[in-house]
Structure formats: C-alpha cells, structure tokens
C-alpha cells in the first residue's frame, strides 16, 4: 500500500517533469555541427599547381565548417596512378569515414574504389570521374562541355579556319606524341572528356583541322617543350588549345616569349599568372572551373553521406569562359580571385 503510493507519487513526478521539460528544449540540427569529428580523406591528382591548391583550400574551408578532420593526399605527378591507388588503399586501411577522389585514371582507380565501397567507405569523385558504379556522387565541372566551350571560342578567334594544336594532359604513358588517344579509359576522365568535347565541336568546321594533340605530364617545362615542338612541326598553326592549368602555363610562356602574335590561344583554369597573360593579350580566353567550390562541395557532400543524408548523384559546379573583356566584371573577379587576402 505504502509502496504503491510511493510508486504512484514518483510516477506523477516523472510525468510532470516530462511535461514541463518537453515544453522547452527542442534541439536544432544542422549538419556537421552536432556530432563528432569525421575523418575524410581527400586524394587528388597532384600536390602542385594553383588549381589543386584551390581545391584543397575549398576542402579545408568545408572541413573547418563541418568539423572534419581532413587528410589531403596527392602524388607528385598527375601520372602517378600507382601512387594514387596506394593512397586510396592507405585510406581504406586507415578506416576513413569517406574518401574524396580525383582519379588520375578512369579505369586505373576503379578497382580500388570498389574495394573501398566493399569496406563501406563512401567514395566521392571530384573533378575527374572514376569507372566505378560504387561512387556516391560526382562533384565537378562538365568536362565535355568545357572542351566544347574552348573549341567554340578558339574557332571563333580563328574565324572558322586554320590548324589547331591541342595540349592535353594524361597520365597514360601509352600515349605517344602525335597519336590521338587510342584507349580513352586509361587516361583521366576529365582530360578525355575535354578533348572529346573539343574534337567533336571542331569536327563541325571542315576548315578547322586539329593537327596535333600532345600530352604533357604536368610539368610546365614539359608543356613548354611540347609547345615548341608543335610550333616547329606545324608552322602554319593558328591556334592552340590547352586543356589544363599546367599545359596552359607552359604553352602561354612559349607564345609570350616567341612573340607569335598571330597564334590564338584558349587556356584552361585560372591562376594569377594566367590572368596576367590574359590581360597581356598573350592568351585570348580561358575556360575556368570552380576549384574552390569543387573542394568545398566534395567535403560537404562527404559529410552528408556519412550522416546518411541524400546527396545528388552529380553536382555540376560549372565552367565559364573568361576573356579580357569580362575578366573585370565583379562576379568574375570573385570567381577568378576567390582569395581576398
């Protein structure tokens, strides 16, 4: 009897307490703020270059915002596919919560990505896709479209005729100078897509001839050499399209130094040096991506994936064609020089 009463009293108390307290607290939820630190590994193609540096800064900004412990890894060169595979392996061993990968090789990284997903580690592609169905989401530009934009502008600059040389990048050693790509899947997806986009667009113009496609291994020096060789080999060359930052810098340097005013060039990716060349008039236009956004969104979506939220299959961060005329537009200034300090 006494016990029953005591129990009832206690029950009443608890009920009251619950009623009273439930009126108050409602905990807010926003991603990355509530839970523990996540280990996210970001593996990109190369540890050099303005472009990857910007990607890294974007990733770091997101890491800071979403309480992520970011491990940034990259091989010395974009062609170090084996290195990159090893890095992914290491991240799997380290039990990363998520892996963000800019694959140097579309097929080369496929297997290791499958392995990661076998260990229930979500993989997010950034910039360059990888040939695995296990990839959670892709964050980056539409490379095919970017290639087309480049071609469109270059052909316009050339008034629709003339010889064009392309300087692309890829890690595949099987690509020899002068050969057009034989096995696309071995190279980096973005490089291949850009090239494909460019060639497909150029094919519409019968008077435009893509006379040579050279592949640099992500060294400015190498790109310079390739450009020189190309210029020697094709004295009638009217236009050059470069498909990544290193290639652009190398080619622009050659053109600037040789003072070949008649050669039009459409570069790829922004860097302060490239902007200077653009303002100089050495380079007529540049296709730029959003490396900062790529890095940022990749990390953000990685966090969302680890929290079990839905993420879009594909996030297109867009590309833009910049020339002398629009480079000082306020919105382009912001895009080209995201670092105020």
């Amino acid at each position: 009897m006494k016990k029953v009463r005591f129990g009832l009293t206690l029950l009443l108390c608890i009920a009251l307490w619950v009623t009273v307290t439930s009126c108050f607290s409602a905990t807010p939820t926003y991603i990355g703020k509530s839970s523990e630190t996540r280990n996210i590994h970001m593996i990109v193609k190369m540890n050099r270059g303005e472009y990857w540096n910007t990607v890294k800064q974007g990733a770091e900004a997101a890491a800071k915002e979403f309480n992520v412990n970011l491990t940034f890894k990259a091989p010395n060169s974009e062609s170090d596919v084996m290195d990159q595979i090893q890095m992914v392996e290491d991240s799997i061993t380290a039990k990363a919560d998520a892996i963000i990968l800019a694959a140097s090789s579309y097929m080369g990284l496929a297997q290791v990505v499958d392995k990661a997903s076998y260990y229930k580690i979500p993989v997010i592609s950034v910039d360059a896709e990888v040939g695995s169905a296990r990839v959670t989401t892709y964050v980056g530009a539409n490379s095919y479209e970017a290639g087309q934009k480049s071609a469109e502008r270059l052909i316009k600059l050339l008034n629709g005729y003339g010889e064009i040389g392309i300087i692309n990048f890829t890690n595949s050693s099987s690509h020899e100078e002068g050969e057009s790509s034989s096995s696309m899947d071995i190279g980096a997806r973005d490089a291949d897509e850009r090239e494909k986009g460019f060639l497909n667009y150029a094919a519409r113009y019968p008077d435009v001839h893509v006379v040579q496609i050279s592949y640099t291994n992500s060294e400015i020096k190498d790109a310079e050499d390739l450009t020189r060789l190309m210029l020697i080999k094709h004295p009638n060359l009217r236009g050059i399209a470069t498909l990544n930052e290193i290639a652009s810098q190398g080619a622009a340097k050659v053109i600037q130094n040789s003072e070949l005013d008649n050669i039009k060039m459409v570069a790829f990716d922004s860097s302060p040096a490239m902007m200077e060349l653009l303002q100089d008039g050495t380079v007529q236009a540049a296709v730029i991506q959003n490396p900062f956004s790529n890095g940022y969104l990749a990390v953000k979506h990685a966090v969302e994936v680890t929290e079990g939220l839905d993420v879009p299959d594909r996030v297109d961060t867009g590309t833009k064609l910049i020339d002398l005329e629009n480079m000082l537009w306020p919105e382009n200034q912001k895009l080209l020089f995201p670092f105020v300090r």
Binding site: V20, S25, G58, N290, L297, K334, R341
Partner: protein, 607 residues
C-alpha cells in the same frame, strides 16, 4: 428500554457497496490535503517558473541584443577611425603632391614611398592624368596593358564629386605582378609638372588587412559574425568571403541595404538570426552583425534546464512534504476512528490514547471523558433497572399477598360464624375493592383518590382484625385527588405503623393520613401515635440497615426507591419519630396530572 437503544446504537450500520468505499478513500483528509497542497504548490511553482523564465529569457535576449549592438557599434567606431586615418594619409599625400614644384622630383617619390611604407595595408599610390596616363606611382612597377581604366569606378568617380571617393572592393589590375583585392581612394588633385599646374587623379589603394583584423575579432556567440557591405551591396569583408565569392554561400543583403541603422530578425536562411546594421558615415559602408537566435537562446536553454530541474525538485519536495504532512494530520484521526470503531462495536473499555496534533489530542481526551460518562450511565442504568425490576416484583407480590388474604379471610370466617353479616359484607366489600385497586388492571400509576381509597379499604380490613385497637382518619384536599401517584406507596407505611407502632401499644392507636398540595408538590403524611422509633432505626430504614420481619413484605425502602426512580431522586420519604410519641412519615412527590404518560403505558405492559 427500546427507547434507549434508539439513542445509543451499539452497532453502526455497515457502509453499503464498494463504490462508497472508494469515494470515501478519495475523500480522505490525507488524500485531499496531498492533492490540494500539491496542486497549489505545483501550480504556483509552474507559474512562477514560467514568469521567471519569460522574464529571464527576455532579459537574456535583450542583453544579447544590446551586447551585439554594442559590439557592432565598437566595430563601427574602429572602422570609422581607420577610414579617418586613411583619409588623413590621402590628404597628406595630396598635400605633398600639390606642394611639390615638379611631380617628377625624386624627393616626392621618396616621401610618398615613406608614407606608403608606414602602413602595411597601403598597396599603392598613383597619380593619373584624366586621360588615364600614369604620372607617378609608388612603388614603381610596370603598368599593364588593357587596364580598362575607363570602366573602373575609382577612375570615373572623382569627376563627379570633389570628396574623396571610396571604390567598391575590386581587383587592382594596373600593375604587374599583382592581382590584389583593394579598396581605392581617389580624387581630383592639383599638381605641378615642370611649373605647370595640372589636374590629375590621385589613387591610393589599400587592402583589407586592417579591416579583416578589425572585423575578424568580432565574435557574436559561437557562430555569429559581422560583415561589411559597401553601399552597392558588395561585400567588403565577410568571414566566409571565399564561399560567398564562389557562390557557395549566400548573404541576404537586400534588407540590410535599405536601412542605415537597424536591428531586426531575419529568417531568410531558414534559421532565425538577429541582424544589426550600422553605417559608416564616411564611406557609406554598412557593418552588419549576425547573431544566431538559437545561440542567444542557449542562455534560455540553460535557464530552461535549470528551471526544469528546479521544478522537478520543488514538485518532488512538495509531494513528499504534503504526503508527510497529511499523514501527520490524518493518521491520528484514523487511529481515533479505529478506536472509536472498536467502541462502536461494543468494547466500551477501549482506552483512547491518541497522540498527534493538539486538536486530535483534545478530541481524544474529550472522547475518553465521554466514554467514561457513558460507562457510568450504563452502570447506573443497569443498577436502576435491576432495582426497578425487583421493586415491581415485590409490588406484584404484595398485590396478592396470601398471608394478608388468609388473615383477612380468617377474620371473615370468624365474623360469619358469629353471624355478623353486616360486618362480613363490609369486610368482603373492602377486600374486593382493596384487591381491585391493588391490581388496577396492572397499571402502575393510579390517582391519589384511588390510592387513598385503597388504603382506606386496607385500614377497614385491618380494623376488623385488630378489633378496634385503633382508629384512623383520612383527610385529603379535594384538589389533590386527581393527581397521579405510584400505587401501593401508602400500604407499606401504614402496615409498618400498624405492626410496629400500634399493635404493641396498650392504648387505642390513631392513624391519620393527610394528603395535600403544596407548591406543586403532593405531600402525603401518615401519622401514628404508636411506639415510635429510635434514631438508629430511623436512620436504618432507608439505607436498609434494619429489615422488617413481618408485614406485607413490600418494604418502606422499596417505596422510597420507586418514588425516586419514577419521580426523581429528590423525592421520596421523610421520617419524624419520637419514642412513645409516634411516627410521622411524609411522602413527597411532584404533582402530575397527565394520564397519558408513556412511561405509564410502558409500565402497564405485563412483565
């Protein structure tokens, strides 16, 4: 008897049905006190808590708001100072340029260089002709091609105003080797070139370093921040400027631009945020403080938790206290109730000793006294009933006293043998009337008239037996006769007078009986002139010390008892006696005339 039962039910009726029991439980003092006390206390606690909460929460909110406004005010002030400093530098540069006789002297360049180096946030100082030709620049660098000067606001603004104009943040693309985000100050100035007065545009660029430093320190809660807008809505400073520039973040600047001085609640991002806007007087820049509502509410939440805990403790305490308190009050009452129940079940000897509150103790004490009184009354009733029964039995016996009948009949026989028919008739008549009144249909109460008749018949009979050994006289006031009396109260006394007072007397005796009304009382005195009684005997009569040997057996004491029982203890017999002189017995009782007394009827039932 049955009437008494009605007054004192020994066994209370059992409550009927379980429902009644339950509701009686709900109506118990303990339950009521507990519930009432708890409800009131909890209600008060809740109301007070809510009021406190609202008050505190509002204060916290106001404080946070005020705090934020003060912080923003401070930033505003610092920035104003900074801008003023920049202005001063500009004016100094202008002064130096206008005072120098020729713009291309190395001294001027050196001075400007020094001026620039004093501030690390100064990027460059340059002088342009209105046509866009570079006249002077510090530090000296090569100017780029394609600068599109004409499109840049710092170049066009001075032609519209004579004040120093501040440009929106932009990339300075003039000089080689740098693309820096700067804010440009520009104005038309006068300078001399080779002694010729000319007008030019003086440009001083400064970067965001100091602005960043001033703004970065602003902490509005954990997530709150401050940012700076120029009058066109361009972001001068933002802690997440890169994200905003990259289009990854969005700041709702439109409502900010509409006001120069304002605080409001913004929900455009889906989250409640307090926005505070202040405007720099000189540049028109707006300093915008953003604080997250739910962080302000953190204080509220802490308060919440505290109040919730406080409430829980209070409620628990109140419940415990009220349970204890009500138990303290109710348990002695319950104990008392249990004891009383025992008493009710008939155990009048149950001692009631309940300790507790003063009232309950008093109640228990009074109840004890009452019980004691009841016990006394019970004893008394038992005694009285017994006595009454005995007396009535005696009366019953006296009504048909065989000894008296035998003696009387003997006397009748003797008279008859002697042929004294008249006497026999008188005798038998008296006897018959005597018995008729004796029985009087079993009634206990008769009129004084009847009682006097009765004693007269008795005396007539006795006078035959005692052969005129005595005389008797019966006098009564007319008014006395209809009053009531218990029957057979005179006979035992007269019998006593005859057998003890007159029989042994050599002379003729006299028995006189007088009945009169005196101040509402009936007084019947029986006087004899017989032997009288000694003091001891007199005293012993009513206390039962002496016992009469013969007689009808209906004792004088019995008469006294009966009168006392019927009329009250204060009534009864009184004796006066003197040896050799005689005895007077006086019977006193109230004069009652009501014939329909219920007690009389009760008594009338045969027992």
């Amino acid at each position: 008897m049955s009437m008494k039962k009605a007054f004192f039910p020994l066994r209370p009726e059992r409550p009927k049905g379980g429902k009644l029991r339950l509701s009686s439980k709900l109506r118990s003092i303990q339950f009521l006190i507990t519930v009432t006390f708890t409800t009131v206390a909890v209600l008060v606690a809740v109301i007070v808590s809510f009021m406190l909460y609202n008050k505190f929460a509002k204060t916290a909110e106001d404080n946070a708001n005020l705090n934020m406004q003060q912080i923003i005010e401070q930033v505003n002030y610092n920035l104003e100072l900074y801008v003023k400093g920049m202005r001063n530098i500009y004016e100094k540069a202008e002064e130096q340029i206008s005072q120098t006789s020729s713009i291309d002297t190395p001294l001027l360049k050196e001075r400007l260089s020094t001026l620039r180096e004093t501030r690390e946030d100064l990027v460059s100082v340059a002088l342009f002709t209105p046509q866009g030709k570079l006249v002077l620049d510090v530090p000296s660098t090569t100017m780029r091609n394609n600068t599109q000067l004409g499109n840049q606001s710092w170049f066009t603004a001075p032609t519209r105003t004579s004040e120093i104009s501040f440009s929106p943040p932009h990339i300075q693309n003039l000089f080689k080797n740098q693309y820096t985000w700067v804010v440009s100050m520009s104005k038309l100035v006068q300078y001399k070139e080779n002694g010729v007065h000319k007008t030019g545009i003086l440009l001083i660029d400064f970067n965001f370093r100091t602005i960043d430093e001033l703004s970065k320190q602003v902490k509005l809660g954990k997530r709150g921040y401050a940012y700076i807008l120029d009058p066109l809505g361009n972001i001068v400073y933002h802690p997440q400027q890169q994200l905003i520039y990259a289009g990854l973040k969005y700041e709702n600047v439109e409502p900010v631009l509409e006001y120069a001085y304002r605080s409001y609640l913004d929900e455009s991002t889906g989250e409640k945020r307090f926005i505070t806007v202040r405007t720099l007087a000189q540049t028109g820049w707006k300093i915008v403080g953003v604080a997250y509502y739910d962080e302000i509410v953190t204080t509220k939440r802490d308060l919440n938790q505290f109040l919730a805990g406080f409430l829980a403790v209070v409620i628990l305490g109140v419940i415990i206290a009220s349970v204890l308190m009500s138990a303290l009050i109710a348990s002695p009452i319950r104990k008392l109730e249990r004891t009383v129940k025992l008493v009710g079940e008939g155990d009048l000897n149950t001692p009631i000793d309940v300790s507790g509150t003063y009232e309950v103790e008093q109640l228990s004490k009074r109840f004890n006294l009452m019980l004691q009184r009841i016990r006394q009354l019970m004893d008394q009733i038992i005694y009285e009933q017994e006595t009454k029964r005995k007396g009535e039995l005696e009366v019953l016996q006296s009504q048909i006293n065989p000894h008296f009948l035998y003696n009387t009949l003997n006397s009748v026989i003797r008279l008859a043998e002697r042929g004294k028919t008249d006497e026999v008739v008188t005798m038998i008549q008296s006897l018959s009337k005597f018995f008729r009144i004796s029985l009087s249909k079993g009634k206990n109460i008769i009129t004084i008239q009847e009682e006097l008749d009765h004693i007269r018949h008795y005396l007539v009979i006795q006078s035959f037996r005692f052969k005129n050994k005595f005389r008797f006289e019966i006098t009564a006031d007319e008014e006395v006769l209809p009053y009531q009396t218990i029957k057979l109260i005179l006979q035992p006394i007269v019998e006593n007078a005859l057998y003890h007072g007159i029989e042994m007397m050599p002379d003729e005796g006299l028995i006189s009986i007088q009945a009169k009304l005196k101040e509402g009382l009936i007084e019947i005195s029986i006087c004899d002139n017989g032997l009288g009684m000694s003091e001891e005997i007199l005293n012993g009569i009513l206390t039962g010390g002496s016992k009469s040997g013969g007689g009808s057996g209906v004792g004088v004491r019995n008469v006294n008892e009966r009168i006392g029982l019927y009329f009250g203890r204060e009534y009864g017999l009184s004796f006066e006696s003197e040896i050799e002189e005689g005895t007077t017995v006086t019977i006193t009782f109230p004069a009652l005339i009501n014939q329909e007394d219920p007690i009389d009827k009760e008594g009338g039932t045969p027992e």
